[in-house]
């Protein structure tokens, strides 16, 4: 710890409990930060691309997650270092904003930091590096816009969308049946998409998983599944043209919120109360019956008596349905959630063409399918798979694919994948670098080098010679002036990504570059780290 001394050799105390804190400043602080950021990027580097490897993460409670998704790896990694936490957040913000490319953004940031370290060693001021990066990122984003292509799709022509989703899924463990899953994702997104407003509400897509069966059995259900069964074992298991009453009040005697007491002091009172109670149950069931409901879905439990009455009046019912599911059911069936029995009216009932109970395997797991809903916009993707980790990973992969499809509907510009966009940007940035007078020129050039690291990692993970492959592709791009050449990860034989049908979304790529640059700038600007030393 650097200390200041006065003329008598006594130290000045500036910070509270100064001697218990460690402090790094100046170039040391930057170097420490950079090395932390690089270490995080190094972990993710091998997960990039279709041949990327997975990581096993063991949580503090001993649960095992196996994943390839950058955001998930970082989120569960239990990171302690402050700078590393910034990288984790970087990946998460890419996840929230775009949903895909969470690994790529971290690898990119790591490469930028690595380049920055070299420049720092040459004595270039960090702020100048940051500014150079900023300029370069602007060039790259503009260039991306320039090489991007619009493509057309419609409700009938979903092929391009499916192709893009397949690019996303090919890096996951589910790539065995990526075609199947990509089609499911695209159909799901299209069925909830508002093509006029170019908006997709992903909340309308529910992703459910159940262990067992094979991945190929994964299906898209135009409706909703609820992990519940009928409240009474003898209620009908299948209801056609169901009119659904969605209730948030229990089939139980009322519990007024104000504190009260009912005193029973005579036999008469005891009897009236008893009659009242019976009538109460009867009324509740009768009300549901009167409005014409053929299925009751309730957020709370039922009393035994009410349950039997429902069964008796031939009114199937489902109890303990969670709040979120209840809302989804309400949206899907076009019903209203009714908080009181008095407010039940025929208009508030939801409608569904078919409600059925389905059981799985040898255990008595049952699920309720609500299909052919009045508002067919809500869909469910129902995943099956060999084990729990597989299902969790499939869920994450489907989420990525859904996000990609959504982004394409919002903005139908695409760039070609396989590292081709990065290589092309790198060429453009490199060319622009010479135009800048001053120190920034070096930073801009470094940025171009950093862009190369993504295709380099791709080649490395695919078992190709990274430097050879990259330089070959780069010269090919310049020679033929065609930005579609990338790394041939799958060993198909051509490296024209247009022929391989490997695309990514334009906004996803742009966001990656912008976010990575921002975080790197932030890290570079830190020149003093004060932390409590170990106790």
């Amino acid at each position: 710890m650097a200390l200041a001394f006065d003329e008598y050799g006594r130290p000045f105390i500036i910070l509270k409990e100064q001697d218990q804190k460690t402090r790094l400043r100046g170039i040391d602080a930057q170097k420490a930060n950079i090395s932390a950021g690089k270490a995080v990027a190094r972990i993710l580097r091998t997960s990039l691309g279709p041949k990327g490897m997975d990581k096993i993460l063991q949580s503090p409670d001993g649960d095992v997650t196996i994943t390839n998704d950058g955001a998930t790896i970082l989120e569960q990694m239990d990171v302690d270092n402050q700078i590393a936490k910034l990288m984790v957040e970087l990946s998460q913000s890419q996840d929230y904003e775009i949903g895909d490319g969470t690994t790529g953004v971290v690898v990119m940031a790591g490469a930028l930091l690595e380049q920055a370290e070299r420049l720092l060693e040459r004595g270039i001021h960090p702020i100048r590096i940051a500014e150079g990066y900023e300029m370069a990122s602007r060039i790259a984003v503009e260039h991306l816009e320039h090489i991007s292509q619009k493509f057309d799709f419609g409700a009938s022509n979903i092929e391009p969308l499916v192709q893009t989703c397949m690019t996303t899924l090919s890096s996951k463990i589910v790539n065995r049946c990526k075609r199947h899953l990509a089609e499911i994702s695209v159909k799901a997104v299209l069925s909830v998409a508002d093509l006029e407003r170019k908006d997709v509400n992903l909340d309308m897509i529910k992703v459910e998983g159940k262990v067992g069966g094979k991945l190929e059995d994964t299906e898209l259900i135009y409706g909703i599944t609820v992990d519940k069964d009928m409240s009474h074992p003898q209620m009908p298991k299948q209801i056609e043209d169901a009119k659904i009453a969605i209730l948030t009040c229990p089939f139980e005697p009322p519990k007024p919120k104000t504190k009260h007491k009912v005193d029973i002091d005579t036999v008469e009172k005891f009897q009236t109360l008893r009659l009242q109670e019976q009538k109460y149950f009867d009324d509740m069931v009768q009300k549901c019956k009167d409005v014409g409901a053929t299925l009751v879905i309730c957020q709370w439990g039922f009393d035994d008596e009410a349950n039997h009455l429902l069964m008796h009046r031939n009114l199937p019912a489902v109890r303990w349905v969670g709040g979120v599911e209840l809302e989804l059911i309400a949206i899907a069936t076009g019903g209203r959630i009714v908080p009181r029995f008095q407010e039940l009216t025929p208009e508030k009932l939801g409608r569904a063409g078919l409600v059925r109970e389905k059981s799985f395997g040898t255990t008595k797991d049952k699920m309720l399918y609500i299909e052919h809903c009045a508002n067919s916009r809500a869909v469910t993707i129902f995943i099956r798979g060999g084990n729990k980790m597989m299902i969790e990973e499939t869920k994450r992969s489907i989420h990525d694919a859904l996000c990609v499809a959504r982004n394409l509907i919002r903005n139908n510009s695409i760039v070609y994948g396989g590292g081709s966009a990065e290589i092309s940007c790198s060429i453009a940035v490199e060319a622009a670098a010479d135009k800048y007078p001053g120190v920034e020129q070096y930073a801009v050039r470094a940025f171009a080098d950093a862009l190369d690291s993504v295709p380099m990692a791709l080649a490395e993970n695919s078992g190709l010679q990274p430097i050879e492959t990259l330089s070959a592709v780069k010269s090919q791009q310049i020679k033929e002036n065609n930005p579609h050449y990338g790394i041939d990860c799958n060993d198909v034989g051509t490296n024209d990504m247009r022929e391989q049908d490997v695309f990514e979304t334009l906004i996803g790529k742009q966001q990656q570059i912008l976010l990575a640059t921002q975080v790197v700038k932030m890290i570079l600007k830190i020149d003093d780290v004060i932390s409590p030393s170990d106790y």
Binding site: M53, R274, H312, K364, M390
Partner: protein, 527 residues
């Protein structure tokens, strides 16, 4: 400058080769653990729980063994998980799936050591799995049309499944039990309708299938012990002091006489309820909840058999069996469906009295009463029987059947080998490895039976090069035998699930190149 520490204090990180090695070692050691239980001559394991009483389980069932282990290795956890899923989904083959996955990984380890990239191995494994599945599909036998033959298929499958368990001595007896029970279900996979009651005492041979329904309860005092043409009301209602359910109600009195009055009213209420129940014209009343002395007395007076405290499963099953509905209110006797059965009587099994409902309306349900020397034997017998029932019920739905005794593995291995020869590139090594892993299963079966596995498997391989061969390992005589003649069969669904889940799990573990273990959650120190 030293690289900053990124992870928290106790967290650890293993990379690349080390990570891969850790997961291989974990998975393979789990495999070695359950390996010896595979096949008809497999050995059992004793599991002692750390919980109170140090309970002991003796079992041969892969899923049960793995479930009870406390494992720290993440890759091992993956294997345990697939075994659990196999148990839930098809019920049998829980050991085979783990062994196959483990063998796949053992082969993969060798390939990785030979500098073949895991991704190449995975793509080879995938091709091989697909090819193996097709090979099985070509050789399946489907006797759906022929009921006689199908029944004998079922019988064979049940015997094959049971032969590796403790029940193998009496496997014919139990196979018959299981087949009869499943045939009664008529295609539904709802195993709830088959009730298994365990009563220590007697020998395993004394176990029997009862076509009716047995409720492990006693008949109330002073009530008829035998009812013919019973009309049964199945209920779930409070037969104690039937509380007022309106919230906040309480009794508040100011004199003793009032207490008596209210007590009288309560009694009156109960009497009324009983009267209403009687109004249904029943002669047997089964309630899920408690029946107090007072109503019980009333029932006894009316000559009605009242059974209390039937648990929830029992009630549901009884309702299913007798065809009645579970009632909770009794105001409309005409519209409540009553259950019927020909005869209710109290029977003795060993020293316990049970209530036996026979001649029930719906023929679906039945009860299997297991007898045996000790609780451990009974528990294991139940697990074995459960396996057999699961497999049979799945087979009823998917009627495709294969031969057993290592036959399917050899068939698959042969096809996969052929594929390996046709495939160019490094993948062919992985495909070859897949076939070696498949052959490992008959090898282990032979090893466990104390036979010369190398010799037997080589003979078997030679046999399989003939067209349409039915050769498998005959563990009893210790030679290669014709599986069709020996009547050893397995369900296609089980084999397929084993193949697919094992490949999936192996793939998952192979793809990993880094293990990050978070710091264990700190426990609050007590005191």
């Amino acid at each position: 400058m030293a690289i900053e520490k990124i992870l928290k204090d106790d967290a650890s990180e293993e990379k690349g080769e080390r990570a891969r090695m850790a997961s291989f070692v974990g998975a393979i050691s789990i495999t070695d653990l359950v390996k010896t239980t595979l096949g008809p001559k497999g050995m059992d394991k004793i599991l002692q729980s750390t919980g109170r009483g140090n309970e002991v389980t003796v079992t041969n069932d892969g899923a049960t063994i793995l479930k009870s282990l406390h494992i720290d290795n993440p890759a091992a956890k993956v294997l345990i998980d697939i075994s659990k899923v196999q148990d839930d989904e098809v019920g049998d083959g829980t050991t085979s799936v783990v062994v196959l996955a483990g063998e796949l990984l053992r082969e993969a380890e060798k390939l990785v050591a030979a500098k073949i990239h895991p991704m190449t191995i995975i793509s080879g494994y995938r091709m091989a799995a697909e090819c193996a599945r097709n090979a099985l599909l070509q050789r399946v036998v489907d006797n759906k049309e022929n009921a006689e033959k199908f029944k004998s298929d079922l019988m064979k499958i049940a015997m094959t499944t049971l032969s590796s368990k403790i029940l193998s001595q009496d496997k014919e007896h139990f196979a018959q039990l299981a087949v009869d029970a499943v045939m009664r279900l008529k295609g539904s996979t709802n195993l709830e309708a088959i009730q298994i009651i365990k009563k220590p005492g007697g020998s395993l041979m004394d176990s029997f299938l009862d076509e009716g329904f047995i409720l492990d309860k006693k008949i109330g005092l002073g009530q008829p012990k035998r009812i013919e043409n019973a009309k049964i009301l199945v209920a779930n209602t409070a037969m104690d002091t039937d509380k007022v359910k309106i919230y906040g109600a309480r009794v508040r009195v100011d004199s003793m006489s009032k207490v008596a009055e209210i007590e009288g009213a309560e009694k009156e209420k109960m009497r009324e309820k009983v009267k209403k129940i009687l109004g249904h014209g029943i002669n047997c009343f089964v309630n899920r909840q408690l029946i107090y002395n007072f109503p019980e007395e009333l029932f006894a007076d009316a000559g009605i058999l009242a059974i209390e405290h039937a648990d929830f499963d029992g009630i549901e099953r009884l309702a299913l069996v007798t065809g009645g509905e579970i009632a909770s209110t009794f105001d409309n006797p005409e519209s409540v469906k009553l259950g019927h059965c020909k005869l209710i009587e109290e029977i003795m099994i060993g020293e316990d009295k049970l209530i036996h409902f026979s001649g029930v309306e719906m023929g679906q349900a039945c009860t299997i009463v297991l007898r045996g020397a000790s609780h451990h034997v009974l528990d294991e017998a139940e697990r074995s029987l459960h396996d057999a029932l699961c497999v049979l019920s799945q087979t009823v739905n998917d009627t495709r059947v294969l031969l057993g005794g290592g036959w399917p593995e050899m068939v698959m291995a042969k096809e996969v080998d052929e594929l390996a020869r046709k495939t160019p590139g490094k993948k062919s090594h992985a495909i070859e490895a897949f076939s070696r892993a498949l052959v490992a299963i008959p090898t282990i079966i032979a090893d466990n039976a104390g036979l010369d596995s190398a010799d037997l498997v080589a003979k078997l391989r030679a046999e399989h090069h003939k067209e349409g061969c039915n050769a498998g390992i005959d563990v009893i005589s210790g030679s290669v035998g014709d599986m069709a003649e020996l009547g050893i069969s397995e369900a296609f669904k089980v084999k397929q699930a084993v193949l697919l889940s094992a490949t999936e799990a192996a793939e998952m573990i192979l793809r990993v190149d880094e293990i990050i273990t978070c710091a264990p959650r700190k426990r609050e120190d007590r005191m």
